[in-house]
Symmetry: C2
């Protein structure tokens, strides 16, 4: 029998899922307990904070969230006063989403904690190991991209500030 000794706990997709779930769950305490944000809301908030105005579709394209998830997150964040939503003048199908002052305030409150959480996690690694991790994950994505029924991978958006993406590491 060939599959007799299949061990779930050594199966890469399962291991990735467990690690990801634990990480997300522990991070969610940062934006959840203190600010009452869900994970989609947290993602939308920090993404919107990077640009002037953006539409639901732009968020959907760059963040790993389904369109309905973006729409609902935006609705909740608007109700909470963290962002403002107006219909675009030039194209009435589009909405223009931007942070309010309150949204910026929350953003500035959460991000340092999120970064310190990430720093705590990465503290176990040397700079070389962090590069390794990044590299391995990137190559994992590349393999997934080439598989038959490849799932959508959100586009990394062009950085408006900071180092250019063409710059060597």
């Amino acid at each position: 029998m060939t599959s007799d000794n299949f061990n779930l706990s050594e199966f890469l997709p399962y291991k990735l899922s467990v690690l990801s779930s634990r990480t997300t769950k522990m991070l969610s305490k940062v934006y959840g307990e203190k600010y009452g944000l869900s994970t989609p809301e947290w993602r939308v908030l920090v993404h919107v904070a990077r640009r002037e105005k953006m539409s639901v579709r732009e968020i959907h394209d760059s963040v790993y969230l389904e369109k309905p998830a973006v729409s609902r997150a935006v609705a909740k964040l608007e109700k909470a006063g963290l962002l403002r939503k107006t219909t675009c003048d030039k194209d009435h199908r589009l909405v223009e989403i931007e942070l309010t002052e309150g949204g910026l305030y929350v953003f500035n409150g959460i991000v340092p904690e999120a970064l310190s959480f990430e720093a705590a996690i990465l503290s176990a690694f040397s700079p070389e190991e962090r590069d390794q991790l990044h590299d391995l994950m990137e190559r994992l994505h590349d393999v997934l991209d080439r598989l038959p029924d490849a799932t959508r991978r959100p586009q990394m958006d062009n950085d408006t500030s900071g180092k250019s993406s063409t710059e060597a590491h």
Copy 2:
């Protein structure tokens, strides 16, 4: 301003989540489309296949699934005829779960495909890099374990066959 240039797409918890989601989603086609199993059902099935009889609690302890998720997955798998559920003689609170012949058949059909999916993913890596990946993920878990509000991490169960866990490779 310190958090001006926070970039979600370079944030480790987010990156882990995206990679894990993509992997799980693509793997789920293996057990989903052809066998109609959900992810919890797939996990329960392959875990139960490793031992004689086990309880819901034992599954919950070793697999990253909430107790209700295990209970529901077991119920569905039983209804599908893939496993058998009987109340324990010695302790009537417990149930004894074991694979049926049909369950073993499905198991033997799925596992090779799952393993070949994993192999396809890992094909991009050298043996050393696979060890690196494993090592980095393990150390990530260790860090999470030591953090204040550490989330539960399922126990890796003792292997009944194959190499012992104390063996240095």
